[in-house]
Symmetry: C2
Subunit: 157 residues, 2 copies
């Protein structure tokens, strides 16, 4: 007899979707990562951080806000920013407004690196994902993932 | 004037979907990975490999086929199997049929580890992803990701 706490085993269709999701995200992210690393020496998570910085006022975001914006843990973002700082792509400094907290700031060199990398990355997203997706299915996938972000984001970070 | 080789910049909606996809997959996989590691000492990619082995005849799959099945590179699967072998979860041996190639075999201990881990993992997939997805959107996402797998899979591995 099943109880309320029994494990909710997936239906065959849910299992199939889940496997496609796992396989698809793996090959997609591997390919995008490989392209960015080979051409610009950046990983996809690093690229995403640079995009967020480039769009912020003063090209600067507090570390805590940056972690939340890219849905990474604080320790992971700290590690990534340290690496980017060694490449002179980012510098860290105190927040100018109120002196509280440390911000990451995109350098001019970092902005140039990002501009070049953006061509490679967007071409990949287009060719590997968007070209392979029905337009309505693509938007449906966005709804699912946005729900997941809103449900899990910020929890346990 | 645009040329055929111009970078296909994303529309605002495509950009929004892509960011939801990146953020959603990041928080989802981080959470699933954390749950499995904390309770069973396995990563999600390791878990997926054990699932495939458990379903194969003799709980055994050739390394090359295993890499293809989970959409990982050969070198990545070799690295993962070496770690699992140190934990006595998997052993490696020659293929019995024709003596060609090396197979990974799930041990009885590995099968027990997998059985325990399956409860944790499936509960997570259900709670974090399926519960947060409209049923039709979930299936649409599966179609997109299956297309991506078929388009990219096996290329450049």
């Amino acid at each position: 007899m099943e109880t309320k706490t029994a494990t909710p085993w997936l239906t065959p269709e849910q299992q199939r979707v889940w496997r496609s999701f796992l396989g698809g995200t793996t090959v997609l992210m591997d390919r995008l990562d490989r392209d960015l690393r080979a051409t610009h020496g950046l990983s996809v998570p690093e690229y995403e951080i640079l995009v967020r910085l480039s769009e912020a006022p003063g090209r600067s975001i507090r570390m805590a806000e940056l972690a939340a914006a890219v849905a990474h843990s604080r320790s992971r973002v700290t590690h990534t920013i340290a690496r980017l700082e060694r490449e002179n792509i980012v510098v860290r400094g105190q927040c100018s407004e109120d002196g509280r907290g440390v911000s990451a700031v995109l350098t001019d060199h970092g902005f140039s690196v990002l501009e070049a990398a953006a061509h490679t990355h967007v071409q990949g997203v287009h060719d590997y994902l968007i070209e392979n997706a029905d337009a309505a299915d693509f938007v449906a996938m966005g709804r699912v993932m946005q729900n997941v972000v809103e449900a899990l984001h910020g929890k346990n970070f």
